[in-house]
């Protein structure tokens, strides 16, 4: 452990490699986490099928690439539309039944069931193999070639950033975006003012699904996927949202990128088997401190 720490101190290029890599891929996680926060904030539903929707998006990109010859990056708009429609269908089939559910466990159970169903269906449709869609874009060397960045990670970062900006604009200025924000603030008041809440909820869930789809396309280009790896992405986005706080858009971006970088560095120093544990410990510490600070102001954490 000390040896590894010394390496980082003696050769900061490795630290740079770990941090830059974490920042780049963290943007993908931030995107997925934002979707989770969106439906959590607006509809009070914690979606445990988030990761499965990501993997589904990844499989669509993979299929479009190998079956139809569409370049993985160009497949993103198609996957976005497909997942948006998929989101609407899932909303009509399952999610709308959970609205107004006081017991959070019912929503967790329902979405967890959806996750298992999706895992099995993806396995039946796409097979159990590990797949990746390598766009083969080469890599880039910075700092005298000491730090290598694969171009696809860089592009993923910019795609995630572009989507985030687009989302920000939609939320701020479009009618639907304003309606979504109004519903999040106060559903009853929004309904009195003539907003079709049902439609807002359906659209919110579909937007989340589309975000997962984009995330999934990026995941299958950067890493590998198989039908049972979704939970990793669900937990990660859940953690990012907890860390950033609901409704904190900028916080989610920083939390997403920060956690990934930190995870890389702890994995390097302490070992891959502890990296998740360190992140969870950090989460506990942050929550406890935040709760103590809130108590001073006679508030509590929701």
């Amino acid at each position: 452990m000390i040896t590894y720490l010394n390496i980082l101190i003696d050769s900061p290029e490795f630290l740079a490699q770990l941090v830059i890599n974490g920042l780049l891929v963290g943007a993908i996680f931030a995107l997925i986490a934002y979707g989770l926060a969106l439906i959590w904030g607006v509809m009070n539903i914690i979606n445990f099928a988030q990761g499965e929707m990501v993997i589904f998006g990844g499989y669509l990109t993979y299929t479009l690439f190998y079956q139809f010859g569409i370049h993985p990056i160009l497949s993103i708009p198609i996957v976005t539309v497909l997942l948006f429609v998929f989101g609407l269908l899932v909303y009509k089939a399952v999610i709308f039944r959970l609205l107004g559910e006081k017991d959070i466990f019912i929503t967790i159970l329902a979405t967890f069931g959806l996750a298992i169903l999706m895992q099995q269906l993806m396995q039946a449709i796409f097979g159990p193999d590990v797949v990746t869609a390598n766009p083969e874009l080469g890599m880039m060397h910075i700092f005298d070639g000491k730090v290598s960045i694969s171009n696809i990670q860089l592009i993923s970062f910019f795609i995630a950033a572009a989507v985030a900006i687009a989302l920000f604009i939609i939320m701020k200025y479009s009618r639907m975006g304003q309606a979504i924000r109004a519903t999040a603030q106060n559903p009853r008041a929004a309904r009195i003012l003539g907003i079709d809440i049902e439609k807002v909820y359906a659209n919110t869930f579909a937007i989340n699904a589309a975000l997962c789809g984009i995330g999934g396309s990026l995941v299958v280009m950067v890493w590998t996927i198989h039908p049972f790896v979704g939970l990793v992405y669900t937990f990660r986005s859940f953690m990012i949202v907890i860390l950033a706080g609901l409704g904190n858009f900028v916080g989610i971006i920083f939390a997403g990128m920060g956690i990934s970088s930190l995870e890389n560095v702890t994995g390097f120093v302490i070992g891959a088997e502890f990296q998740a544990a360190v992140i969870f410990c950090l989460l506990v510490i942050i929550l406890v401190t935040r709760s103590i600070m809130a108590r001073k102001k006679r508030q509590y954490i929701q």
């Binding site: 193999d129 890493w223 198989h226 070992g271």
Partner: protein, 402 residues
């Protein structure tokens, strides 16, 4: 008293029933197998089933199994265990009690074998398994389980021997990095590698245990980049194999020798998907169509391979070959026992010493095959070449990895 008599009567009835059990109606011997035809092991499970089917077909076409002057055909009763251990165990129970199979063939994977072995053991039904390699299967004192394959701790030991030969420096200066998944099977592989590393006196510079829900290996691979070990050993099922070659390329990590498991199931040889990313990686394999072993049923390994290819349209992976070998071993043991009695066949199995296309088969007290070595294949341009051990090698190992 009355009750006691009734009990005895029932018992003798039951015994009579067992003796005339319908396992041997007509002229077939029923074998039972629960294999993963769906679920996460379904790819390998299907290889297993095809291997069994081909074995049965050829044993039957060569006159079947002769017992007491009478010949029987083999027949397999299959169930799909859905890749779930609990299901596997209950199906084994069902095969033995309801379908009344005489003997069992193993499922796919160590996990499923671990679930089924206690059941076959309880009922005293001999099982020849071909796809459970975990070391922990062979320290339970099982008496009725026999495995034709090499155990997991042998998987990558040959890679350690090769780096000792090729590195061109004293063993004490050779550095080794381990990136091995944190599950019992992969950790068995790690234990085997560590044994050999310590025996040679090499130095382990990285010893990462990859999480089970592996999705990113950046931290481990940057460590490899920093420390430049002579040998990198990766084992984390197919996801570990696929992810490591993908990310090594993305991070610009190169090592002189890369040794892995599960190359075949990760389809690293599929150039459409992985290009040449995995070239010159060393892959552990139980068997390869080019090894120089032969036996009575299929002739040489190459011959088996072409028969399999003609039947199913693809080159047999070792999962299929070892499954076929299990059928051959079972048929051989029944013939030598000259009886369908479970214990007689068990004893015949324990005394097995058979040459097959899959390799020599001879069981230890614990039931694992001690006569066949693991082989190491090098992946070059979408093809695997056997490079070690020396007596079966077909090509010279390319070192360092270009």
């Amino acid at each position: 008293m009355k009750n006691y008599k009734f009990g005895v009567m029932m018992k003798s009835l039951l015994l009579a029933g067992l003796i005339a059990s319908p396992a041997v109606i007509a002229d077939t011997i029923k074998l039972g197998a629960a294999v993963s035809l769906s679920g996460k092991y379904s790819t390998a499970g299907n290889h297993t089933k095809k291997g069994y089917d081909l074995g049965v077909k050829y044993v039957n076409s060569m006159g079947g199994v002769a017992v007491n002057g009478k010949t029987y055909d083999l027949e397999i009763v299959y169930y799909d265990d859905e890749s779930t251990p609990a299901r596997g165990a209950s199906l084994a129970e069902r095969l033995i009690l309801r379908d009344k199979v005489s003997f069992m063939l193993g499922p796919y994977s160590s996990g499923l074998t671990k679930a089924i072995a206690p059941v076959t053991e309880k009922h005293g039904v001999p099982m020849v398994e071909a796809n459970g390699a975990s070391r922990s299967l062979f320290n339970q004192g099982y008496k009725y389980m026999f495995a034709v394959l090499s155990t997991s701790e042998q998987y990558l030991q040959e890679a350690v021997n090769q780096i000792a030969l090729k590195a061109g420096k004293p063993a004490s200066e050779i550095t080794v990095a381990l990136a091995i998944e944190n599950d019992p099977f992969s950790q068995d592989i790690r234990a085997g590698v560590l044994d050999d590393v310590n025996r040679h006196g090499m130095k382990v510079v990285i010893d990462d245990k990859l999480p089970r829900d592996l999705s990113d290996m950046t931290s481990t691979l940057v460590k490899v980049k920093a420390l430049k070990p002579d040998l990198l050993v990766v084992s984390g099922h197919s996801k570990g194999a696929a992810l490591s070659v993908r990310q090594m390329n993305d991070l610009g990590v190169s090592v002189n020798m890369l040794a892995m498991t599960h190359c075949e199931s990760a389809k690293l040889h599929d150039k459409e998907k992985f290009g040449n990313l995995a070239d010159y990686a060393l892959c552990a394999a139980q068997w390869s169509p080019s090894v120089s072993s032969e036996g009575a049923v299929f002739g040489t390994a190459g011959n088996y391979s072409s028969i399999f290819n003609d039947t199913y349209g693809y080159v047999p992976p070792y999962q299929a070959a070892e499954s076929t070998a299990a059928v051959i071993v079972m048929a051989d043991a029944i013939t030598r026992a000259n009886s369908l009695d479970k214990d007689a066949v068990r004893d015949a199995l324990a005394a097995t010493d058979l040459s097959t296309f899959y390799g020599q088969i001879r069981f230890s007290e614990a039931g694992n095959n001690i006569a066949k070595p693991m082989i190491l294949r090098q992946l070059i341009d979408g093809k695997y070449y056997v490079v070690a051990p020396a007596n079966v090698a077909e090509a010279e190992l390319v070192y360092p990895r270009p």
